[in-house]
């Protein structure tokens, strides 16, 4: 079975190509072979789920009363004590936590992360762990402590990974626990894979009231791929609807993890937290003792600090690093003196030395992020390691859109903002683009739709830009008659029909987990989106897994919204890139009054061209104000018109009224009319309001 895995991996998208079997799998994989094929860290669409975060807080108030009743759960699994730890216990734990600067032997270090489906309580659990270990003072505590971006808190999601070192005393022996918080959304799985590479263990958090979701699987497979010890944790057992035993069975059946030791907890109520901490100490293996070897540290994140230059987060694999060491970045070949070495707890705390197995940060007055790229290996300048650590593959953006400033003067600001964002979001790609309708802007590449949304929102919010975004598109691969292969994400740059031999489009394998009632609705959805049915499996009596292969272009629209609405919110999905396939694709052009309008061109499947063309022409007819002449609005494939609407000419616009010489009001009206024309873009003789472009782009998002 293991041999089959590499074949299924598209070479471009292996985000964390860490070699398998550092340790042999402790887990029985036999029952999950079919899932393994989708166990890639790629993209998943989960856009709406974070909105439910707020609702939980309301629910929790109600839950408190049913606590006692809920804790009766029996059966396998580690039960929490009936009540949260006593104040005395907490206090002693907190006291121990204060000493986290103290060194522990490397055999007492535990590096772990938490993986979960969105909203299964990952950040809440992280909060509790920090609190219980005294890492964060109670008075400093706030929800989602590790998510310090405004956007993360608002949406209740984690975007950037964070690290926190905790000290925990188990059986009178102090342990150093390094928690690396990870984003749950698979758009950000490159962040996940980076943190997984820095760990030896993972807490798999599953909502006891919901069960295994598509993303649970994706993240578990990512963790297995990194040879992590996985500790199943059933969260939210205080919920009236919690069914920990059923969910345990589900994990065993679907994921193939042994759940006899699964921990039942409620992060919200503080139940089972001690058990989790103990399990981490007992089950997660310590990092191998490699302090004597030449320094090797893997950079898993970096950001730019205006005062100290680039700050690098790393995991020490071999050797140790001291303040003042002269270090070398093996890939870039640049060397620096480490001015400051420390760890994150979660604030940066300086130390003199970090040893193998530890997670920390350093600053060395590095001026350019390019000198210390994520994935690079740090070694000593004087005692170089022979081989660098396997790094991360550059992530390839899959979804593209054009970003244009509403106010053309903001172009430079937009560029600066994108450059700054790119500093700690290496997955963001952009290049300048000019559009006759929108002026100057950028074509940007994203890992997925949520990533796109987050970037747009950060640009608007943190950099005060107002943006117009075009419909998201994917990268098509065009084989020209000359034999050249061109990657093309911008419809206006598509080679002429005569010069193309074929167009290929990216395909994804999509797995939808759904209660059986919605199977029909979801199959219909997938079929509509040119999906090719692969497999249906009942993972439990009432829940099924649907496997389809479909074009990514069909996913970037409202697929996820549709999935959610057709399943009344119960289905979840996960998708992974499986390669390029030839498709019958054509370029659909829009002509207004005989003038082609480049920004409205789209690449669509031939079978959908008519429907899309009709929808676009109709929408434009609604939005373009009538002109003093008849304006045909056409959708064309090459020279062939496939849909046509006509805007009739204005017949009359005259103020033929007696107004006794009082022209001020009339003049005001005419000035307003003139103002209105200014906000429009001239397409040939026709004035098209900006809103028409925006509305059509929105429509494209819906129709395509």
């Amino acid at each position: 079975m293991a041999a089959a895995i590499p074949e299924l991996y598209p070479p471009k998208l292996v985000l964390s190509p860490k070699n398998l079997s550092r340790r042999s799998h402790a887990i029985n994989l036999s029952s999950c072979s079919s899932y393994f094929s989708s166990a890639k860290p790629e993209f998943q669409l989960l856009r709406r789920e974070y909105f439910s975060a707020g609702e939980f807080h309301v629910l929790h108030k109600l839950r408190r009363y049913s606590l006692k009743v809920c804790c009766r759960a029996t059966g396998a699994g580690v039960q929490p004590k009936g009540a949260p730890p006593s104040p005395a216990e907490i206090e002693s734990a907190i006291r121990a936590g204060k000493d986290r600067l103290l060194k522990v032997p490397s055999s007492n270090i535990r590096n772990f992360c938490i993986i979960a489906h969105i909203d299964h309580g990952k950040s809440t659990l992280a909060d509790k762990l920090l609190q219980m270990t005294g890492t964060v003072e109670t008075r400093e505590m706030k929800e989602q402590f590790l998510d310090n971006m405004d956007l993360e808190r608002e949406r209740g999601i984690t975007i950037k990974l964070q690290a926190a070192r905790m000290r925990y005393v188990h059986n009178n022996e102090p342990y150093c626990l390094n928690l690396i918080d990870t984003p749950g959304h698979v758009d950000f799985s490159y962040e996940v894979s980076r943190s997984l590479a820095a760990c030896e263990g993972a807490l798999l958090v599953v909502d006891a009231s919901q069960g295994v979701e598509a993303q649970t699987l994706a993240n578990v497979y990512l963790a297995l791929e990194n040879n992590l010890e996985i500790i199943p944790v059933l969260n939210k057992i205080d919920l009236p609807g919690a069914e920990p035993e059923r969910v345990c069975r589900e994990i065993e059946e679907v994921v193939g993890l042994d759940c006899s030791d699964a921990i039942y907890c409620s992060a919200k109520e503080g139940l089972g937290i001690t058990e989790i901490l103990s399990a981490i100490v007992q089950k997660v293996p310590p990092p191998p003792d490699a302090a004597e070897r030449p320094l090797r540290a893997l950079i898993f994140d970096s950001y730019y600090d205006a005062y100290r230059g680039v700050i690098v987060y790393f995991r020490l694999i071999d050797g140790c690093i001291k303040r003042g060491d002269r270090i070398l970045f093996m890939a870039s070949g640049k060397d620096y003196y480490a001015d400051e070495v420390g760890f994150l707890s979660p604030n940066q705390l300086q130390v003199d030395q970090l040893n193998a197995g530890e997670v920390g940060y350093l600053s060395a007055s590095i001026r350019s992020v390019a000198d210390a790229r994520v994935g690079d290996t740090i070694t000593h300048y004087s005692r170089k390691a022979e081989e660098s650590l396997p790094g991360y593959k550059e992530v390839t953006p899959m979804v593209f859109c054009g970003l244009f400033p509403v106010d053309a003067d903001q172009f430079h600001e937009l560029r600066d903002a994108l450059e700054k964002l790119q500093l700690n979001d290496s997955a963001l790609k952009f290049e300048p683009e000019t559009s006759s309708a929108m002026g100057f802007g950028f074509r940007c590449g994203f890992l997925g739709l949520l990533h796109m949304e987050i970037v747009q929102e950060r640009l608007e919010r943190e950099y005060n830009l107002s943006l117009i975004t075009t419909a998201p598109s994917v990268v098509y691969r065009v084989t020209c008659t000359s034999g050249d292969i061109v990657d093309c994400s911008n419809p206006s740059l598509l080679p002429e029909a005569g010069n193309r031999r074929l167009i290929e489009e990216p395909y994804v394998k999509i797995e939808m987990l759904t209660p059986k009632d919605y199977i029909g609705a979801l199959m219909e959805l997938a079929q509509d989106r040119r999906g090719e049915f692969k497999e249906i499996k009942f993972i439990t009596e009432i829940r099924a897994s649907l496997l389809y292969e479909l074009p990514l272009a069909e996913m970037v629209g409202d697929f996820f919204d549709q999935l959610k609405s057709r399943s009344k919110g119960y289905a979840s999905m996960e998708y992974s890139f499986i390669g390029y396939r030839e498709s019958d694709l054509i370029k659909l052009d829009i002509q207004i009054n005989g003038e082609p309008v480049e920004p409205l061109s789209t690449i669509v499947h031939k079978d959908k061209a008519y429907a899309v063309g009709r929808a676009l022409t109709q929408k434009l007819k609604e939005l373009i104000p009538r002109q003093m002449f008849k304006v045909p609005i056409q959708a064309c494939i090459g020279a062939k018109v496939i849909a046509s609407e006509a805007l009739s000419a204005i017949r009359k616009d005259v103020l033929a009224k007696c107004y006794g010489g009082d022209i001020t009001r009339k003049k005001k009206l005419l000035r307003k009319q003139a103002e209105g024309k200014k906000r429009m873009k001239a397409i040939g003789k026709v004035d098209v309001p900006q809103e028409a472009f925006m509305a059509v782009l929105k429509l494209e998002k819906e129709v395509l």
């Binding site: 003093m628 033929a656 006794g660 022209i663 200014k678």
Partner: protein, 462 residues
Amino acid sequence: MLLKSAYAPLLSSAQRLSLSTVTNSLTHQQCPQTVRQNVPVLLELPQLPPASAYVHLPFCRKRCHYCDFPIIALGSSSNHEHDPRISSYVDTLCREIRATKLPSSSFPPLETVFLGGGTPSLVPPLLVSSVLDALSAKFGLCGDAEISMEMDPGTFNAAAMKELMSLGVNRVSLGVQSFQAELLRSCGRAHGVDEIFEAVEIVKTCGVENWSVDLISSLPHQSPAMWEESLQLTVAAGPTHVSVYDLQVEQDTKFGVLYTPGEFPLPSENQSADFYKMASTMLGNAGYEHYEISSYCKSGYRCKHNSTYWKNKSFYAFGLGSASHIGGVRFSRPRRLKDYDNYVQDLENGAADTRSDGIVENKDLAMDVTMLSLRTSDGLDLRSFREAFGDSILVSILEVYRPYLDSGLVICLDEQRRNVAADEVVVSSSFNEKLAYLRLSDPDGFLLSNELIALAFGVISP
């Protein structure tokens, strides 16, 4: 006794001089003749002292359903001869005239007076006389001044007409609006069709030489046949002037509440455009010149008073809600009677500020000139425009009109008013010296005048 002849303003000019401080920034009035000649005519025209006056007489029996003018509804009692509301208003009006500051030390006597409303024919001739007296005493009145009065059918008889004529009223604008009883009713007019014919008869038998029929097109439920009939009957009545107003549905009117333009029972946009064209064709065939968007006349009978508006000349205005244009400044009086009374009071105390509309910029002036002159068949005088506002703006306007020159909505004319072909209009981005006028075509250009004028506005004020 009525003052048809002009008062020589000099009679009391010494006295007036002491009263009137120099109220505006005009200097060329005091400048030697040679300097004045250098001022472009379009810049100078609005600054010259007015020779026209608009007088608002706001009384109506009731408010028509389309009307948003400042009016005072008197109710339907037939005799308004001694209505104290009228006499007290006219009194205030005359006080306003008397209290008005003169624009400069030397000023011409009035050449046109327009008594508009409302329904001025509801005002007893005696009171009309006092208004004209006040005007004449203040500004002087040319012997051949055009004195127009709006009169509604059913509000005057031959005796009143004769009396008004003896006061100097020599032009009548008859508010017919429509020749169909049901349409008159549905737009709330206070008269019927019979009164129209009576009124026409009175005007004709009294020997009013210069008179106009005012019509409204695109009324609710109006059919092409009805409109054709109205136009036919108008032509048959033989006025020297016809005004055809296209119904504007204004917000705070009964029509505004009931109807949406272009929707039943109002005619569709196409039908409404056809009505406009029908008027242009039928009146044209009957020998009327379409000299302004909504005005037609027999040769030599253009309304002189309205022409001052379209030439962007200055004019006085008196009465409720009326708008004056003096020294380049437009000022609207309060629309509510109480506010208007206070305004006149302030004016008498020297406290009223009639200059609050601010300084007029050249750009605004260029817009005014464009929007007003393009309403007329004379069109925009390109040479004066160029002299006043420069070459580049004119070339830009011609550029923006290029497609419409091609499609015939806009026409360029040479000195002899011969058409200039569209491709000769702008050659290598410079002004073609052959061009003299630019006008909107009749009826297609006129019909789209708002769009076309807005285009020019976009060029003037980018």
